[in-house]
C-alpha cells in the first residue's frame, strides 16, 4: 500500500476562525520516507501549507512537531517509526501559540533559555591561550552540549504546559546544568541562587516525557536531578 493518509493541523489566523485538520493522500511509492519528505509531497499538493525546516538532517532543530501524538524531528523520523494503520497525524508542538499551520511561536521557550544565561561566565583574567580543561572535566559536558534547542522536550512536558512563564523547562535546565558543571564557569553560586524557588527547577515532577521524546537521546531529567543535588549541597 503506497497511498498514505495524512491528517495535518491547519490554521491561518488571517482567514480561519478556528484551527482544523486537513486530510491529504500522499503517494509514498512504497518507500519508507522521512516525515519531512511527506510534508514536502503535501506542499506540492497545497503550496500554502506552512512548516519550518532547514538542514533536513536532525542538526538544526527547526522541524520539531507532533507526529501521531509524539514529539520529534520530522526530518529524522521514518514513517515506519510513527504510522499506525497507514495513518499519520501531524500537529504543531503542543503548548506554544500557533503562528500558522505547523509554525509555532517559540518566544516563551527562548525566554526561559535566556533566563539561565546560556553562556560561559568567568571573572578571572583571560589567559593568553584557551581556558584549559582536563579530559575528565570535559567529559562532564557530554550529554549536555549536544542539545539543539528543537523544543521537543519542553513542549512535551506538562509542567511546562501549565507554567511556561515560571518553569524553565527541560531544555533550559539541561543547558543550565551544562554551565553549572563546566569547570571554566565561575558564576555557579549566582546561577544556583536563581533556581531555588518552587518553580524554576522544582516544578519538574519527574514525568520524563522529555527523555522519551528527545531526538538526540539526551536526558534532561538526569540534569535536573543533578541541579537539585547541587542546590541541596549548597543549602544544607
Amino acid at each position: 500500500m503506497s497511498n498514505l493518509q495524512v491528517s495535518v493541523y491547519r490554521y491561518n489566523p488571517e482567514t480561519d476562525s478556528a484551527p482544523y485538520m486537513q486530510e491529504f493522500q500522499v503517494d509514498t511509492k512504497g518507500r519508507d520516507l522521512m516525515v519531512l519528505d511527506v510534508l514536502h509531497l503535501m506542499k506540492e499538493q497545497d503550496s500554502a501549507l506552512a512548516f519550518r525546516r532547514s538542514c533536513r538532517e536532525g542538526v538544526c532543530g527547526s522541524d520539531g512537531m507532533n507526529m501521531n501524538g509524539k514529539n520529534g524531528l520530522a526530518c529524522i523520523t521514518p514513517l515506519s517509526e510513527v504510522i499506525k494503520d497507514n495513518k499519520l497525524v501531524l500537529r504543531p508542538l503542543p503548548g506554544l501559540p500557533v503562528i500558522r499551520d505547523m509554525v509555532v511561536d517559540m518566544g516563551l521557550f527562548y525566554k526561559q533559555y535566556e533566563r539561565i544565561q546560556p553562556y560561559l561566565q568567568n571573572d578571572t583574567p583571560a589567559p593568553a591561550i584557551e581556558r584549559l580543561q582536563s579530559p575528565e572535566d570535559r567529559e562532564k559536558l557530554d550529554g549536555l552540549y549536544e542539545c539543539i534547542l528543537c523544543a521537543c522536550c519542553s513542549t512535551a512536558c506538562p509542567s511546562f504546559w501549565w507554567n511556561p512563564e515560571k518553569f524553565v523547562g527541560p531544555a533550559g535546565l539541561l543547558q543550565s546544568y551544562r554551565f553549572l558543571v563546566d569547570t571554566r564557569d565561575t558564576a555557579t553560586q549566582e546561577r544556583l541562587s536563581e533556581l531555588e524557588d518552587p518553580f524554576s527547577v522544582f516544578r519538574c515532577r519527574g514525568i520524563m516525557n522529555c527523555v522519551a521524546v528527545c531526538p538526540k537521546g539526551l536526558n534532561p531529567t538526569r540534569a535536573i536531578g543533578k541541579i537539585r543535588e547541587m542546590l541541596l549541597a549548597e543549602a544544607t
Binding site: S159, W162, N163, K166, S193, E194, L195, E196, D197, P198, F199, S200, V201, F202, R203, R228, L231, L232, A235
Partner: protein, 115 residues
C-alpha cells in the same frame, strides 16, 4: 528567581526536601500501624488506648500528623498553581486549604492528648 508567598517554605528546595522527609515519616508510621494491627489480632479498646497513652507513641503520631500537614500543604499548593489560573480563585483555594490543614492539625493534637 520566581517569587512566591503561599508555598510552605517559600523555597522550592526546602519544600522539595520537606516533601520527601515527610513522606518517609508517614511511610514508617503506616508500616508500624499495619504491623501493630497484624501482631494484635484480638485488639480491644484498652490495648489500643494503652498504645496511645505512651509518650513515644504520641510524639510519633504528632510527628506524622505534622508531616501530613506539611505534605498536604506542599502538594495541594502545587496543584493549585498548576490548575487554577485565576488569581482570586487560586489564593482563595490556597487559604481554604491552609485553614483546613490548621484545623485538622489542632484537632488531631486534641484527640491525641484528650483521651
Amino acid at each position: 528567581m520566581v517569587t512566591n508567598i503561599t508555598s510552605f517554605g517559600r523555597s522550592g528546595l526546602s519544600d522539595w526536601l520537606m516533601q520527601r522527609v515527610s513522606a518517609v515519616i508517614m511511610a514508617l508510621y503506616t508500616v508500624f500501624l499495619v504491623a501493630y494491627l497484624l501482631f494484635n489480632p484480638g485488639l480491644d479498646y484498652y490495648t489500643w488506648s494503652g498504645l496511645f497513652d505512651q509518650t513515644w507513641m504520641r510524639i510519633f503520631s504528632l510527628l506524622t500528623f505534622i508531616s501530613l500537614a506539611a505534605h498536604a500543604w506542599i502538594g495541594l499548593w502545587t496543584v493549585t498553581t498548576d490548575y487554577l489560573k485565576s488569581t482570586p480563585q487560586r489564593v482563595g483555594a490556597q487559604m481554604l486549604i491552609i485553614l483546613a490543614i490548621f484545623v485538622y492539625l489542632v484537632w488531631s493534637i486534641q484527640i491525641l492528648w484528650g483521651a
